[in-house]
Amino acid sequence: MLVGVLETRKIFGGETETAKMVFYLLAVVVLAIFFTGLVKRVIEYNHGRRPASFSWLRRRDARDIPEVSERPKFASSLVTIAANKTVTKSRKKVGISHLLLFWGFIGLFLATSILSLDYDILGNASRFITGHTYSFFQGPFYLGYNAVFDLAGLAALVGTVLLVYRRWFSREIQLDYTRAQRPEGGYSRAKIVIGDQVFVVGLLLILITGILIQGLRIDGEGFPSFERWTWLGYLVGKGLVTLGVGSAGARAIHAWLWWVHVGMALAFVAYIPWSKAWHMLASPTNLAVRDLATTRRIPAPPEGKTGYDSIDDFTPRELLGFDSCTKCGRCHAVCPARTAGAPLSPRDFILDLRQWVDRSRHIPLLLDTETRPVASGPLAGDGQLVGDVIVDKTLWSCTTCMACVEICPVGIEHVPTIVQLRRSLVDRGEMDPTLQSALQNIATQGNSFGKSARMRARWTKGLDFPIVDARKEHVEYLWFLGDFASFDERLMSISQTLAKVLNASGVSFGILFDDERNAGNDVRRVGEEGLFEMLVEQNMEAFSKASFDKIFTTDPHTFNTLRNEYPSFGLDKPVLHYSELLAILMFTEEVAPRSLGRRVTYHDPCYLGRYNRIFDTPRAVIAGLGCDLVEMPRHGANSFCCGAGGGRIWMDDSYLEERPSVNRIKEAQGLGVDYFVVACPKDYAMFSDAVKTVGIEDSLKVIDIVELFAEATEATELVDV
């Protein structure tokens, strides 16, 4: 070969036949290990339970809130993955570092693949067939290849360095591996930490040696001028010269460093399916198959069962999800249960399930696992899925606030799995006595308060106008109040205020009186599916007796289930939240509110905001009332749960170190606002208690958005400052 005329380079460090043989042998072994792992894992996902319908295959599931309940199409998933959108979403710097590393390594992988195509496949095949070795790895292609892929190398290097730096020095809570649920007998997550280090530091070393051997090679070849195109290697080579590494020395170092680099790279490939590195394949796949609707519409239990109690119950998507977890800890950081000191961390939940599944299916994780002096939970061989692997209290601690699902960069859906496991607890009758009596009350009287169903419309007493019975007269809006707005003494007056506002604005609305039942959103999330179905039947029956065009609800929880879950049981009417109705009144100029000029903050209810993406409407109402909205640090999609959801409001919370609602009020405390505006009856109840606990009920007043609205639209002040 005429080196110097032809711009190319030698492929192997020394290019002896023995070296080549050794390399090929190693490569075969590595690929065998890699594919064994890959196949094992894919078979494992394939074992998963296929839900009876084929909806899991369908790409689109059209609804009126596309962003959250339409399944992303492949194209949009690809964009999400390519742009690392979910990684970047809540943490810009980390996300961008990851993006650099991500594309850098994809570039380097492409570079290696092209090289292998040219040398290993085309070269060897052509020599075998024709006796001549063909190669396209030369000339302008060679120059362009180097220029482009050196850029990838630099991107990968910068990204990796930043991430290694963060791993080493960050004190963030998300990188703290302390468990939320502490097993008796202790545990150690040292191997997980080692796994993380092996992963990032390993990548860094592969990169550094790769860039170094490029520099050494160019140095060793005496800096041919066309190698300027290989700019990174060229610069590194020049740098080596200033450090005193001459041409001969460079060749000597290159000879063995090449093997170090190749050895590490090969080892890494073999390591992928047996470690955290598997997320490189699992996570993008998971993002491509995720279904944003699952948390909004909890799936049915497995056929013929009441809930999950065995490994065979997990769907392929769930199994893939467990493997996708990168232990980034974002969910751990935002979880209100974990924050409150409850024994639940969504991260630990996923990791425990992953470790248990791997253990049960005999797919070893080399590092990245927890160890315990006494085998228990996911580490023990004989435990039950619900109760041992995941303990009851962990499951009951979830408020189904969805913060974990929202923030997870790899698209894991924790909440539906938690609900599926809860279903088994309910089936065994294992639950808080207070929850049990709430469910019994709902079963007998249709409300969690245990009041007579006939008392549901008692809140209307004292109004100086009648409320229309939608079962007797056609109305435009059917008002579905929910239990709290109907039965809680404090909230009944707010229901009256809303009724007065609507009445004064001439809205045609009516209620179902004693036919309304608890809508079942939280009943379903507690895991009592049978009761949920019964409530749906009762409410659908009540709807069929009434005549109306649309529904609006007081409770965002009710709103979620009516809007997202009832349609599959036959409800075909639009569902609104009362804050939307207020906005309609305001912006169709049915009412002309005066400007209140207050400084307020607004709490996004989980089921209104995160679940149903209604962030702007309540804010528009608040602004329309002339209030100055000061946002809490956690707002919008990152809003912090009040702690009442998912049936938590029916359970004992005395074991919490600090109730989520108190944590939230403290967040608002420093804003210098007088009003804490809510748009959910449960929020009103929770936060009214919390301001008292914090002792600031005189300076921060919890107020429902409709109370503000009423004050601005009525002559008399309803609310005293």
Binding site: D427, G429, M431, R454, G530
Partner: protein, 256 residues
């Protein structure tokens, strides 16, 4: 061991009960009926004994509003057989004596070791049912039972006595027990299990004819107590004022 649990339906006390026009019964038309909570405790105790010792549990109830719901729930919780006794008018009040006679007529044809029922009910606060059953069936009877430990021929029962004491006695079987509380809170029957029981389980019906219906107690008058005006003082005002007044009263009585 063969255990029979006798259960009864009562108006849900969360309802605002009204007396009917004749003044002899509550107005049953719009009230929701639920099972007696002490009977639920009796069922729980029976199911616990079944879990511990292995037993068959039969639940028997008169034909009363929503009784099917209670019987299916009992099946869902683990009862082996449920029996509905027909022959009474489901919409009238069956007093304890008649109830006992109807149950005894069925039990005469059953062999059982233990008969459990709630020690009382809202319409049987004097706790007659278990006692009358004991005498009609001529078997030993114990009331206010808070725990049962069984063997094949005898049971040890723990009873609540006055002054915070518990008494333990031994009874020969068969026996009738009026249950005050079960060892654990009554278990939850998930609705899906109840629905499953409705599909696959069966309520066997047994008609009971009472020979002498005229010998029953007649209710002459049912009424809410008239307020005498002298007894209680209603505290009025805002919660703050009421609280202040309560504190005053407590102080004036020298309690704090």
């Amino acid at each position: 061991m063969r255990i029979v649990v006798a259960m009864r339906q009562l108006a849900d006390l969360v309802e605002e009960l009204e007396v009917n026009d004749e003044g002899t019964d509550i107005d049953r038309e719009f009230v929701k009926f639920v099972s007696n909570e002490w009977d639920e405790a009796a069922l729980e105790e029976a199911l616990t004994l079944k879990d511990e010792l292995g037993a068959t549990v039969t639940v028997v109830a008169l034909d009363e509003p929503d009784v099917d719901q209670t019987l299916y729930a009992a099946l869902a919780k683990g009862a082996d057989r449920v029996v509905k006794l027909t022959g009474n008018d489901p919409d009238t009040w069956v007093r304890s004596r008649e109830r006992a006679q109807r149950l005894a007529s069925f039990l005469a044809g059953e062999s059982f070791d233990l008969l459990l029922t709630g020690v009382q009910a809202a319409d049987d606060l004097d706790g007659q049912l278990a006692g009358i059953l004991g005498s009609l069936l001529e078997v030993p009877h114990a009331a206010v039972v808070v725990g049962v430990e069984g063997s094949d021929s005898k049971v040890r029962v723990i009873q609540e006595m006055g002054g915070g004491l518990l008494g333990v006695s031994e009874l020969d079987l068969p026996a009738v027990l009026g249950i005050q509380a079960a060892k654990q809170t009554p278990r939850y029957a998930p609705i899906s299990r109840i629905r499953q029981a409705m599909q696959t389980g069966e309520i066997s019906e047994h008609e009971v004819e009472l020979s002498d219906a005229s010998a029953q107690v007649k209710v002459r008058r049912l009424y809410p107590p008239e307020s005498t005006g002298a007894g209680a003082t209603m505290l009025k005002g805002s919660p703050k004022e009421v609280a202040a007044e309560i504190i005053e009263i407590i102080k004036s009585k020298g309690l704090v």
